[in-house]
Amino acid sequence: MKKIILYTIIILLGFGCNSDEYSPNQVFNRKSPSNVNATQIALLNQKTASNTIRIAFSGDTQRSYAETALFVDEVNARNDIDFVILDGDISDFGLLAEFEGIYDIYKRLDVPFISVIGNHDLVANGRAVYERMFGALNFTFNFGPVKFVCHDTNGREYNFDKSTPNVGWLKSNLTLGNGITSLVAVSHVPPIDDDFDPDLRQPYQTLFNQTPGLIASLHSHRHAKLATYYQNGNTGVPFIVTNAIVKRAYTIIEITNGQINAQEINF
């Protein structure tokens, strides 16, 4: 009978290996990856940009693990993609288990992937989870002659306190030089959306239109067919809003000699 007890304990301990959880809201555990964006940017820097840069751009993986896995298979089946941008709403509830679930699928990509913060990622302890797992909320990276300026535009999560997007940070990072001839802004909520800080909507778009070399601003969040907006009419910087992974869609962004082109792909 002592054997039975011993076996029961061994089975229970064995089953539990690595699935002990302190809280669904914990920021990290023993296995959690960290500094993923820095690692992926380092991988991207090992690659050489050809004349045309091709990016698989989408966001809003949220709870859709099955669709996320299909997307990764789809990108791996192509051989023309330089890198992937996961443009926010990685998680739905801001929980560690969700960020890890999506990371575990994206890490199967054959190309580097860069992850940007979305409004759902700021819920509960999500911000701390994102910062530890991926890195800073506002950051930049270069590929070939293009500088990508990734930033937080989820104004509603800050109660529209005029802090987000951080216009000052943008001004000092939207800079050319050192071989950089084009700028691409990347963020989750587009300025036309109700979740964008209404007081910053005009200054933000005006800044982008006045920034030399800025060729486009990329967004997601709206779970709707790929759409392009302009601040005024049909000229100036295009605000390109992609469809979502949850809708089994992504956008191919092509950049050639400072020209940008976007095309929706459904999978």
Binding site: I9, D20, Y22, S23, N25, A66, F93, A97, V123, N159
Partner: protein, 196 residues
């Protein structure tokens, strides 16, 4: 001197009287068991106190858990567990195995990052439909109880392992049920319990 003595005696009587009353009161409130738990989604460590219900076929307990900053970010969690204990397998007169005790527990995470409800006017009605502070967990535990002498102060000591999932994990699983195995949404915790 006499005055002093009378006062002392009176004071002693009073004291003993209140202690007596108090002990009776505390006797009633004294929990049937206290426990210490590792993990199990309510803290790195949590302490709990509980009462047996329905002739030890069920139990209700209160738990307070804590996650230290360097083990997952600082968190304080309160949980109330309701256990059902349908099966008891005695092994000799020293052990009782409870192989499957279903458990239900709401947990509440304290702190400014967590809200019972996402508040207006920031969000329109239903913008985020869930509560970030309140989780509802469902699970089951296995417990091995080691009995001591019936007249001992500590009547038994038990070890348990408990698996649980919560409303949001279950929701995510349901959406991905064709691709995610059910067991993947369960998390574990282990504990020791002292029965009085």
């Amino acid at each position: 001197m006499l005055k002093k003595l009378t006062f002392s005696v009176l004071f002693a009587l009073l004291l003993s009287n209140t202690t007596f009353a108090q002990s009776k009161f505390w006797k009633k409130l004294e929990p049937d068991q206290v426990n210490l738990q590792y993990a199990g989604s309510i803290g790195f460590l949590s302490v709990g106190a509980g009462y047996d219900l329905f002739n030890e076929k069920a139990g209700l307990s209160l738990h307070v858990g804590y996650v230290p900053e360097d083990l997952g970010g600082e968190l304080t969690i309160i949980a109330v567990k309701f256990h059902y204990r349908p099966f008891k397998i005695p092994i000799g007169d020293k052990f009782i195995i409870e192989p499957f005790n279903p458990v239900f527990f709401p947990s509440y995470t304290l702190g400014q990052n967590f809200d019972f409800k996402f508040e207006k006017p920031k969000y329109r009605e239903g913008y985020y439909f869930w509560s970030s502070a309140l989780r509802v967990h469902l699970g089951a535990s296995t417990e091995v109880k080691v009995l001591s002498r019936p007249d001992a102060k500590i009547k038994a000591l038990s070890l348990y392992a408990e698996a649980n999932t919560n409303d949001l994990y279950a929701l995510s699983w349901f959406q991905n049920r064709t691709s995610t195995p059910f067991y993947r949404i369960f998390r574990l915790g282990y504990g020791v319990k002292m029965h009085f």
